[in-house]
Structure formats: C-alpha cells, structure tokens
C-alpha cells in the first residue's frame, strides 16, 4: 500500500507543477504585451522549432516522471514502455550482436541502438530517462530562485533606501563567495539528491535575477503609471503585485528560459565535483562524468559520452535559441 502512496505523491507533484505553469501562462495571456509577443513569435521559424524541441524533451521527462504500479513497487511510465528492451551484463557497442569483450564476446540478448553502459543498461533508454533529472533540477531550482530574486529585486527597486542597501548587501556577499564552495558545502550538508541540488543552485542563483529586476524596477517606478497608482491611494503591496509585477514579468520569462539552460549545464559540473545526481538516478552529468574512464578503455567506449552530451547539447541549444526568440518577440526594437 505504501508504494501506491508514493505513486500518488509523485504524480500529484507533477500535476501541481504543470498547473502552476498553466496558471502563469493564463495570467500572462491576459496582457496585451504577451499577446503581441506571441503573434511575433508565431512568425519566427527558429523560435517555433526550438519550442517544439523543448516540448519533446518535456514530454519525455513527463513520461519518466509519471509513476505506475509494477511487480516491484513502482516504476516510471517510460520504463514501462521500454520494458521489452533486455538488460545485458556489461558494455555493448551500438548495434553489436556480441558483448564488448576481446577475450570472451558473449552473444547479447538483443541489439541496442546506442549500445549499453557498464551495467548493461540500454544507453538510449538511459539517455531518455536522464531528461527527467535535467527538467527537475531546472524546474525546482527555478521555483526557488525566481520568486526569491523577483521579490527581493522589486522590493529593492521600489522601496529604495535601507531596503535597497540591505538587498544589495546580501547579494554582493553571496556573489563574492566562490560558487563552487557554496554548492559543495550546501550539498554536503543536505546530501545527494535532485531536491538538494535544486536548493543549492537556487541559493546561489537568485543574485542575477534580483539584480535584473531591481534595475528594471528602478526604471519602472519613474513611469507615470506608478505615480498614478500612488495618487489613487493604492497600497505599496498592491502597486508591487498588480502594477510592477506584470511589467517585469516578460523579463522573468526570458531569464527563466535562458537560466534553465545554465542549470542543466550546471548539473554536469556538479557530477564532476562528486555531488551530482544520486546513484540510481539517470542523469547526463553522471553519464558524461563516467565517460572519462570509458574513453581510456580498450576497446573504446564512446557511445555513452556521445549520447548524453548530444541530448544535453540539443536541449541547451533549444533553450538558448528559444530564449533569444522570446527576447526578440518582447522587444522588437532591439533587433537581432
């Protein structure tokens, strides 16, 4: 019965994440600025293609995040769908019919499109499954650093004075500590896991967002609409949430997309530092890290590095290109 509970918790948190995203898009869709940006985005081929690629990754990550009951407790929907692919005992080259061993090449149970890893798991399936780690780290971290950065940035820019001094003090301090020290220490305290990686990246990551939003807020508060809102006697809190927030929200969206790619890349570095995804969780970072020893093997094992880094590269590329398209769509004056 316990495993059934876990399945529910996992699926519900996934559902919550998606409803949150839908809510934000719904809120944004009401403003004229977002709608005209959408119209411009529809004419942007590169933007649409990269968006489609991101949606494919999102689909794969979702399949891996949905838990279904199985004989041994629970497994992901993606595992369920790929259960016909057998597990070998060790490395096998792409499409080879025998295991990768010079002395004793045993025949394999089946051919594998991208070969298998050290434990004999299909590389293609592992690469697909690792999408989940990337998406969860990017998503959870964004959930932490965006509200923090936006709120502090807006408060600093709106209230000015000692609030501004305090916020600037805190982010200057955080920015002056080497990021790697922060990440490694926080992760050593919290332990390995996608959640603690997100917390660590969130704590170090909000500085850029706060800086950006503070600058934009300083510009916005000079505009007449804020003076009008103040003259009508609206409370500070209302001005911040009803007037300022919608006017900086497009910057948040752009930074979210571009920042997401940075977070996905950071996961690979964390794996090298030995504080990456926990054992048993497929991730591109751990696959790339493992390939350092695989490349010096004889015969050479290159497919794990190629598969993981290609999947990572295409995702980051799509995110970067889509972020650029968003920026162009929201700010057509700025040109290329």
């Amino acid at each position: 019965m316990k495993s059934l509970d876990q399945i529910w918790v996992q699926n519900l948190s996934l559902l919550t994440g998606y409803s949150l995203l839908a809510g934000l898009i719904f809120l944004g869709a009401r403003s004229e600025r977002w709608r005209s940006a959408w119209r411009r985005l529809k004419g942007d081929t590169v933007g649409l293609i990269s968006f489609a690629v991101i949606l494919v990754y999102l689909l794969i990550g979702t399949l891996e995040s949905i838990a279904v009951p199985s004989a041994s407790g629970s497994r992901s929907l993606l595992q369920q769908l790929t259960r016909s692919i057998p597990q070998e005992t060790s490395y096998a080259a792409p499409l080879a019919s025998t295991a990768l061993s010079l002395s004793d090449p045993k025949p394999l149970k089946s051919r594998h499109l991208l070969g298998t890893d050290a434990l004999g798991r299909d590389t293609f399936v592992q690469t697909l499954r690792a999408t989940r780690s990337a998406l969860w780290i990017g998503g959870l971290t964004s959930l932490i650093y965006i509200p923090l950065g936006v709120l502090l940035g807006m408060m600093a820019g709106y209230y000015k004075g000692w609030v501004d001094d305090l916020v600037q003090y805190v982010y200057s301090t955080v920015a002056a500590v080497p990021e790697i020290l922060m990440l490694v220490s926080i992760l050593m305290v919290l332990g390995k896991g996608l959640g603690s990686m997100s917390i660590a990246l969130g704590i170090t990551g909000w500085v850029g967002m706060a800086r950006l939003i503070r600058g934009e807020t300083l510009r916005q508060v000079e505009r007449p609409y804020i003076a009008a809102a103040k003259a009508m006697g609206q409370s500070n809190w209302k001005i911040i949430t009803r007037h300022l927030l919608p006017n900086v929200m497009h910057l948040v969206l752009i930074k979210f997309v571009l920042g997401f790619s940075g977070l996905v890349l950071a996961e690979a570095v964390l794996s090298y530092l030995g504080v990456g995804a926990p054992v048993g969780t497929a991730s591109w970072g751990t696959m790339i890290d493992a390939s350092r020893s695989e490349l010096s093997r004889e015969p050479l094992v290159w497919w794990n590095l190629t598969a993981a880094s290609s999947a990572l590269f295409v995702m980051v590329l799509a995110l970067n290109l889509f972020g650029d398209s968003l920026r162009r769509a929201f700010d057509p004056k700025q040109g290329a």
Binding site: V177, P178, S309, V316, N320
Partner: protein
Amino acid sequence: MFAYLLRRLFFFIPIVFGVMLLTFVLFFVVQSPDATARRVLGQKATPKSVENWLHNRGYDKPLLINHTPGKPWHDSLFIHQMGRLATFDLGTSDVSGRPLREVFAQGVLPSLLLTLPAFLLSIALGVGLALYLVFIRNAVVDLAASLFCVALMSVPVMVYVIFGQFVVAQVLNYFPAFGFELSGWSTPKFLLLPVVLMVVSGLGADVRLFRALFLEEMGQDYIRTARAKGVSTVQVLMRHVLKNGLINLITLVVASLPFLIMGSLLLENFFGIPGLGNVLFTAIQAPDFAVVQASVFLGSLLYLGGLLLTDVCYAWADPRIRLQ
C-alpha cells in the same frame, strides 16, 4: 570622485565581513574542526595529539561567540581569524602546514599564464569576429553565425575538456594533455590545450555580446553623419564604431580582470595546473579550512576591486557620469 571611492571602500568592509562569516558557517557546518584534525593526523591519532593540533591552530576555541563565564565573548575562533586576516596574516595550511603566503605566491604565475593569454585571445578574436559580422551585414551569415555562437555556448565545459583531452592525447598523440612544468618550452606545450578550450568555450557569448555593442553604436546619429560625409564602411567601423564600442567593452570586461589572478577553478583542476584556482579547489575537497578561508578572503577583495574598477572606468569613459 575621491570621496566616492572612499565611501565605496567603507561599504566593502561589511561585505568582506559577511563573506567571511558565510564561508566560516558553510565550512564548519560541513565538517567540524575535530573531524579535520582526525583526518589530517590519521586513524591512529591519540586524543591528546588531536587536542594539541586543535590548540596550536586555535581551533579548540568556541566557533562564533565565547559563552564560557569568565572569558571575554570575543575569545572565539571566528573573531581570532578575522583579526588575523585584517592584518593580512594568512597563516598556514591545515593539511601541509606550509605558510599560505608562499602557497599563493607560487600559484599566481601558473594561473596568470593560463588566464591572461586566454583573456587577450578571446577579446581579440571576439572583437574581430563581431566587427566582421557588423561589416558584412548579411542576413544569412548573421543567422549562421548566431546559430554557431549559441551552439558553442551550449556545449558543457566537461564535454569540451573530455573531448579535447581525448583528441589531443589519444588520437593525435601530440602533446601532454595533463600536468604542468614551469620551464622554458614545455610550459606553452602544457598550456596550449587549456587556453584553446577556455577561448573556444567563451567565444560564442563574447561574439554575441560584442556584436550587440557594435550594432548599437552603428545606430547612433554620428554614424549616419559620417556616412553622409562619404566615409567608407571600413573607416566608419575602425574609426568610430570600434573606438566608441571599445569604451563600453572595457567597462564590461574590466570587472573580470581581478579574476584572472584567481585562475579558472575547473580548468586548472582538469589539466592539473597548480594555480590558485586549483589550490582553492583541492582545499574545498581536502578539506583545508585555512586555505579556503584565505582564498575566499583574497578572492572577495579581488571581486570588490573589480566592481570599483568598473565604476571608475564608467566615469573615465563617459565624462557625463559623475561619481558622488
């Protein structure tokens, strides 16, 4: 201007204090001084020797505030360390016992040998490519170049390093892929690959940034005037765009200057270059609190120095800006 700089310098004191406090907390939450002592002294250490080790380094004091009755509140580890650092007494390494002044002095040169050529090369290459893109102004080339830049930015550093080391060491069998030697012609041999990787991994972002800078300059009124006078495109680019763009560029990159001394944490570690970045990296993993604290202290001073330099640069480049 002088008053402004002085005020900024005073503002830096609480930041450095905050950085040190944060480092201290981060570090001692991860590992207590007791555990460090046991690790350094080995399994067979007697409780007495552990106590001695801690006492010699002052690690037996309370961490932040001394609550023991009869002792002053400030007789604590953190406050003692801060007092030491305030006089730039860096102390000695917890693990090797070497004086840190010596360790850092030794690391500066390898770090600079890696970062300085990479920095200069990437600026020269970035500016050149960006100017070329602005010069030809061709939609197809622009699209291809921007795709290429984004592609360069999207490759993880790890992949650059693993792939680079693999190609150089195992396929080309050409020059050493790991290690460092500070003597004559072997130094550039060791540094070639890391410098190339550092330039390539940063090039995409640089070209995009510089190109945006130059394009903004191209839209200015004085460019239209120059063109109306009949100045050729090349001359407009060299005389006006490059000159005015460079001012903005300098203010942008000057903040990263102090970091050249610190070296590149990851690259130095990947390639076994004994620079300051590697010193900090190994100290984080050792863990060696004395080294981490002193590195972070010096690093935060450099970071703040970069901020100050940027302000001064802005005022120097644009006389309309007054620092008050």
